[in-house]
Symmetry: C2
Subunit: 349 residues, 2 copies
């Protein structure tokens, strides 16, 4: 798409850095009275508050975290915001502001960066988050996006990774493995396209898992739901690197073990059918496939009645004493030690 | 340096992302009781406060903002923090926390990243700032550093860019142009080295300006000094892109003009002598050379007695009505319109 010579193209050098920031951010709405000053000064200003501030940041690099040959820039902008908001919601906090920095090579025309920001703006509008600052610079290669999200929560509501206790139930929102399988489908179509550019792929039966990869949604609704259910998790984390890796973070920081039950893992029918098509084990995908941006948390067993049967939540196991280890209980009732096969970007090159 | 085969080298892939973050951040001290939770959860947590929060972020890209052939990694880490703290001080606020994200190609061994973090740690210790989060990922080319700084100030103390009024005095801390000329010296030495690697450069007479380039200091002392002098600036900005560009930001946002007096510009003797050596005009360098990280601010003329004679501060002109334009008054008493020749990274490639 970016190589299409008929597109209208405005060079980034024409606008310069200040012009570019103004141009890209001038139509963003501000939703929070806490945003005293947004883009346009040395720093943004956020009003004083009797709530705690949570801050998180993530960096996405072209060729490492995303491939523009199947990731439209608007989706990339949206997803980059989701990745960060997900971390705020995983603290049981609400996100209020973001800053966005991009480094982009001159091969991208202004119109491409506008697409990226259209996705960022859609995310801000959908999730009611204010863009308050950032930086825009050139890169020597490709695009890189660095986002910082700022949220608020009452001190007593914040949930860390280290509060799980033996007998606590392990709960996950939504379903698992879809984003990873969506990526496999897109990678396969890319290879088909390279061999035969005239091929028209029929992706209808993969709609859900492709959307999980290209347009994930952060679970803003879960902290709200938990408040309504009057449940405060004992620990929480978002699933960006795969269930195994995340539950191991909770157990390590809480000094506990865990048992996860294979037959309880929530899988969408498209995940099951596509796993079979790719000759992959759907349990492995649920455990190790990343980028689902669901929330994983633990609750006291006393709260079971409050969460059971909720369509958004699935109990997948329970916390154990540390010396019992971290294990998967298979359908055949065998215990297998969990391994973190989360994604390591340094192995990618 | 990075190509030295005798150095001890540990590959980043061995450690992985989690291992790397832990390894790099475990020796950082926390200075602020406001830092409730630093590195190690989905987000950092900063305690509630009756002060406003200021947030700023900057992105530094290898090959665009710095050249590792003369910028040691430790200095790079230090400078990357300074760039951000400078923006916080320019709000008349104090910096308390930073997050640091880096993207780095596998060609860098762990020991190189440790050097970078040693510089970040030195900056944190010197400026009493807490590292509370970040992200570490691989890049397909070179190093990129994205830092976000978080500061605090009383609501009534915050100084924006838009408060300057006609007759206000224009004041600058320190001296100007050194960082730019330091860069010219380093660029020249790099070219000499490429022709003759055995040449031993004598850089003694450039010590000050090279240090201004390689190890700038953010002016944490100026907000404190102003408080002691009982002066609240009417507007303030830090000088990262050159005096012209910065005073134009103040005037544009304040809807004013200005007069800057050439004979008042504070220049170090090394700036004057090195300008002559390079056949460059020292006034142009003071106006357009970036990266000095001094503070530029305006004060009411009623505050003149409080600041005059202070060795840290120089009055370089005054604010005028908007219709008088933004001008430099030369030594020959001619008025020349100021032009923003600040640095534009998109013109660099």
């Amino acid at each position: 798409m970016l190589e299409d010579k008929n597109q209208e193209r405005t060079s980034l050098a024409e606008l310069g850095e200040f012009g570019l920031i103004n141009h890209l951010t001038k139509h963003f709405k501000m939703y929070h009275s806490s945003t005293v000053k947004g883009v346009g000064d040395d720093a943004a200003v956020i009003s004083a508050s009797d709530k705690e501030t949570v801050i998180t940041t993530d960096l996405l690099v072209e060729g490492v975290h995303f491939d523009l040959s199947y990731m439209p820039l608007k989706h990339l902008g949206y997803k980059a915001v989701m990745v960060n908001l997900s971390d705020v919601y995983a603290m049981n906090a609400d996100a209020e502001q973001i800053t966005v920095s991009i480094a982009v090579s001159n091969r991208f025309p202004l119109e491409a960066i506008e697409e990226l920001y259209a996705g960022i703006q859609l995310a801000c509008d959908t999730y009611k988050v204010d863009l308050v600052g950032g930086d825009t610079t050139s890169s020597t290669k490709g695009i890189l996006i660095s986002i910082t999200a700022i949220g608020k929560a009452n001190k007593e509501d914040i949930v860390y990774r280290n509060g799980a206790k033996a007998t606590d139930l392990i709960v996950v929102s939504g379903d698992l493995g879809g984003a990873y399988l969506g990526l496999q489908v897109l990678e396969r179509e890319k290879q088909v396209f390279q061999v035969n550019p005239q091929n028209q792929p029929d992706l209808d039966k993969y709609t859900y898992i492709i959307e999980r990869q290209l347009k994930p949604e952060a679970r803003k609704d879960i902290p709200k739901l938990l408040e309504e259910l009057e449940v405060k998790p004992t620990s929480m984390i978002d699933i960006s690197d795969g269930l195994s890796s995340e539950i191991m973070h909770i157990c390590t920081q809480s000094k506990t073990g865990c048992k996860i039950y294979e037959d309880k893992l929530p899988l969408d029918p498209q995940v099951i059918s596509t796993s079979e098509e790719f000759n992959m084990d759907s349990t492995m995908i649920a455990l190790s496939g990343g980028e689902d941006y669901e929330l994983l948390f633990t609750v006291s067993i006393d709260d079971y009645d409050k969460i059971k049967g909720n369509p958004n939540l699935t109990v997948i196991g329970h916390i154990t004493e540390e010396n019992e280890g971290m294990n998967l209980v298979t359908r055949a009732n065998q215990e297998i030690e969990l391994k973190a096969q989360g994604w390591n970007s340094f192995n990618k090159e």
